[in-house]
């Protein structure tokens, strides 16, 4: 018993672990809620795209002396909008357009990053620096994540209906454009909020795995979201604690725990299906 307690309390005796855990839980929660919509809407690649695209925004915001989050948000949203525009005005399919737009923006970001002298570490932008977050970063993450969580809670049914049947949503007079762009704005905001903790590469996993976990263990949207949030926050907690004891990188450890959980659930499900009486 004491060993278990120690496993939890020992890391949390440190300020940086406390801050890291708060950020990990916040990021896990908002990413999990959003991931339910992304997985169901078939927008997993969109998370990939928007997160890569924030890099040039970060560098340009640094040059202009603006908050980095602002530049990241603008670039991320710009990528999503550009993808939509190019897809509507060319014969190339959406996945191909997205591939071009986000890898192009990511490459531009790398070129700029190498050219411009910044105070940022590329490693931290790509993979996060969860245990290096300051109180200011915690506040910034909360400032973005909490309103986003509130919006998702209030509009969760409208968004679910929009993902399931946009034609019906429109036919009963819902503001489909608002819901569509609302989701994209939330996606960009969530990625910005996750930047400090898990970075732009690992956030992709956090935006897919919880929704996928929720989808395989439930048959209804409400429970799916609850399971996704529990899986994500649970992984954040376990991953953060493990990273302390194993002296491993925190963000990647959270993603590893989440991915193992997903794999485990898939295996359990397959075994149950195989054993189920026909």
């Amino acid at each position: 018993m004491n060993a278990v307690l120690g496993f939890i309390t020992q890391p949390l005796a440190h300020d940086f672990m406390q801050r890291g855990l708060v950020v990990a839980l916040l990021v896990g929660m908002i990413c999990a809620m959003l991931s339910c919509y992304l997985v169901l809407k078939g927008w997993s690649l969109m998370g990939d795209a928007v997160s890569h695209a924030v890099l040039p925004g970060i560098v340009l915001a640094f040059v202009a002396g603006l908050p980095l989050a602002l530049g990241a948000f603008a670039a991320g949203l710009g990528c999503a909008l550009a993808t939509g525009y190019l897809q509507a005005h060319s014969r190339v399919r959406e996945d191909a357009v997205m591939g071009i737009v986000f890898s192009g923006l990511f490459a531009l970001g790398l070129v700029l990053f190498v050219k411009v002298e910044t105070d940022q570490h590329l490693n931290h932008i790509l993979f996060g620096n969860m245990l290096g977050v300051q109180l200011r970063d915690v506040a910034e993450t909360a400032l973005i994540a909490l309103p986003a969580i509130a919006f998702l809670l209030v509009r969760r049914r409208d968004l679910m209906l929009y993902c399931f049947d946009p034609a019906h949503a429109r036919a009963i007079g819902l503001q489909v454009g608002f819901l569509h762009y609302g989701l994209l704005v939330l996606l960009a905001l969530t990625i910005v909020a996750s930047l400090k903790a898990v970075g732009i590469i690992l956030v992709i996993a956090m935006l897919i795995a919880p929704g996928a976990i929720g989808l395989i263990v439930t048959r209804r949207f409400g429970p799916m979201m609850v399971v996704a949030v529990l899986a994500a926050t649970g992984s954040s907690l376990i991953g953060t604690l493990l990273s302390f004891h194993l002296d491993a990188a925190t963000g990647p450890m959270i993603v590893v725990v989440q991915s193992l959980l997903f794999a485990l659930l898939v295996v359990i499900r397959q075994v149950r299906l195989a054993l189920a009486p026909h």
């Binding site: 679910m160 399931f164 034609a167 429109r170 036919a171 009963i172 007079g173 929720g214 048959r219 429970p223």
Partner: protein, 296 residues
């Protein structure tokens, strides 16, 4: 609050000189006009790419006409939609059947327009869902995930959603794809009952043979209205050939192949590779032959 029955003497849908252009410059609909009245079932027939789905999208306000006007129950499309007057039953292949929703959840989606911001179901909403499920005979399966249903049951769930919504104008996209003949008859009975309660039902279909079974009106469409009117006078071989050009399978049996005597009647089979349309009679006096259908 349910939208009440539409006045029978005024058009439920009025399409007046409507042209629709896509952003890439393609004109999908060119100067189309027609009127449809409540308490009728109208088939919308045309080849793939004839603009049928574009017409549906225009009726639901997805697309704004470049020219002309659409009015629904005497109002602008957006206003009619806000009152929940228009219900849409999607094509099976447009639905993600793995989506984590139960039968009753889908029917409840018909009530969202009647709910507040948080979409919390009231007693009236639950009662409407119960009644709609009962009506289509799906009460027993209300806790199934939608992917666990047969083709006909899936269709009935979406019809129940339209009923729960209180829609007076129901747009159906290819309702009989993946549905067996017995279920098709059950769905047709349901559509007839909905018509008799004063609803207008507009059905887009390739299933030419079923149309005389349950439709009162037909619109033959190919980028514009080729012909529109009652089935008896409008759903003719000549009009179908005009609307479809050469793409219909067309088999004619007459003379010594059909009769041992000088009987001038002939059999004509027209099909778009679904249930065929069969006509029998003398030239220009052929009658629709409705093959026997299993009774539900």
């Amino acid at each position: 609050m349910n939208p009440s029955r539409l006045p029978g003497d005024r058009p439920a849908i009025m399409v007046d000189g409507v042209s629709v252009r896509y952003a890439n410059g393609v004109t999908a609909i060119d100067d189309a006009s027609f009127r449809l009245f409540p308490a009728s079932i109208c088939a919308l027939v045309g080849v793939n790419g004839s603009g049928k789905s574009t017409l549906f999208k225009t009726l639901m306000g997805f697309l704004a006409p470049a020219k002309g006007a659409v009015s629904i129950a005497g109002q602008k499309v957006a206003d009619a939609l806000k009152q929940g007057l228009v219900a849409y039953v999607p094509q099976s292949e447009d639905v993600d059947w793995n989506f984590p929703v139960l039968v009753e959840d889908v029917v409840m989606m018909g009530r969202y327009g009647h709910m507040g911001l948080l979409r919390l179901a009231s007693k009236a909403d639950r009662a409407a869902v119960d009644a709609a499920l009962e009506r289509v005979g799906m009460s027993a399966l209300r806790h199934r995930q939608i992917g666990e249903l047969s083709g006909g049951q899936k269709k009935r769930v979406f019809l129940a959603r339209a009923l729960a919504q209180g829609g007076q104008i129901i747009l159906l996209d290819e309702p009989f794809t993946g549905v067996d003949a017995r279920t098709e008859t059950a769905i047709i009975d349901l559509l007839r009952a909905m018509r008799d309660e004063g609803r207008l039902i507009l059905v887009s279909t390739h299933n030419l043979g079923s149309i005389p079974d349950f439709c009162d009106h037909v619109i033959l469409f190919n980028r514009t209205v080729i012909a529109a009117g009652p089935i008896e006078t409008t759903f003719t071989e000549a009009n179908l050939i005009r609307a479809f050009g050469g793409v219909l399978r067309h088999v004619r049996i007459d003379g010594s192949d059909l009769h041992d005597d000088a009987d001038a009647r002939r059999v004509t089979v027209l099909t778009d590779d679904e249930r065929p349309l069969v006509l029998y009679g003398e030239r220009d006096r052929e009658k629709l032959v409705a093959p026997d259908r299993p009774k539900a």
